[in-house]
Amino acid sequence: MTDNWGYVAAGYAIVGSALGMYALWVRQRIRRLQRSLPDDDRA
């Protein structure tokens, strides 16, 4: 049986980290904008 676990590990690591980082990036930007909302209204 061909052992190709290296490709599997790389695939799952890339997909997991890319999707996780994207979700965190979007969430962080939402929070930053939500925090700046009262400042905007005050100005």
């Binding site: 049986m1 190709n4 490709y7 695939g11 890339i14 999707l19 939402i30």
Partner: protein, 238 residues
């Protein structure tokens, strides 16, 4: 509600990971253990279709005067961005699977090439969304571009039937609707598609919310600038 949905998504993804890495068997003719990349590659491909399909429908709804609403334009943009991410991942995972199975990272065959074109078309669409214009102009321009780009989707899907390709026929959606996996592989694939679809839903909702916040901020900034200008003009008159 959103947290509950996110929790269910994470749970479904964890179950997929467990089944894909520990339960399903390897296949010698598909790269041995590398066949486990199927549970990433197929869901990513499905979500590329779904995401760009949603973009096309939302763009058409924006273009129709009766259904025109700013939300359609924002939804089209949000779905396209998530779709580009899934298309990029599909290409990367496909390449990782192709190396042990076909002996090459990349081949300029019809499926791979049309998918790469799809990726660059929607990358261009995202770039177009950032060009300076009013929200209306941008919406119309991008909606037309999205509908033109969507024409590549049937080419991608049917490329394996229309031309001789190194890429195999669809695992589930092929000409004869002959599902090429069964048993634990079929269950895992189905779960993977469901889990990734839930993740797509969550990401699009988040990206849509972000787009709404950004749009609101721009509108407020414009409103403030107009008010300041009016005040300045009034002072000048006095």
């Amino acid at each position: 509600m959103k947290r509950l949905f996110l929790g269910a998504t994470v749970l479904a993804l964890a179950a997929t990971l467990f089944l894909a890495l520990y339960v399903t068997p390897p296949r010698e003719n598909q790269g041995g253990e590398a066949v486990r990349l199927l549970y990433l590659h197929v869901p990513c491909a499905w979500l590329a279709y779904l995401a760009f399909g949603v973009t096309a429908v939302a763009s058409a709804l924006w273009l129709l005067p009766r259904t025109r609403h700013a939300s359609w334009d924002l939804l089209a943009g949000a779905s396209a961005e998530v779709g580009v991410l899934f298309t990029a991942l599909m290409l990367v995972v496909g390449s990782l699977w192709g190396r042990p199975t076909w002996g090459t990272w990349w081949e300029w065959d019809a499926r791979l090439t049309s998918t790469a074109i799809l990726f660059f078309l929607y990358l261009g669409y995202l770039a177009l969304r950032r060009t300076g214009a009013t929200a209306d102009e941008r919406g119309t321009r991008c909606a037309i571009a999205a509908l033109i780009a969507a024409a590549d989707m049937p080419v991608v899907h049917f490329s394996v039937s229309w031309w001789q390709t190194l890429h195999q026929e669809g695992t589930v959606f092929n000409d004869k609707l002959d599902v090429k996996v069964n048993g634990s592989m079929a269950v895992t694939l189905l779960l993977a598609v469901a889990a990734f679809t839930m993740l797509y839903g969550y990401l699009v909702l988040q990206r849509f919310q972000l787009a709404q916040l950004e749009e609101g901020r721009e509108e407020r900034a414009l409103q403030r600038a107009i008010e300041e200008r009016v005040r300045a003009d009034e002072v000048a008159v006095v």
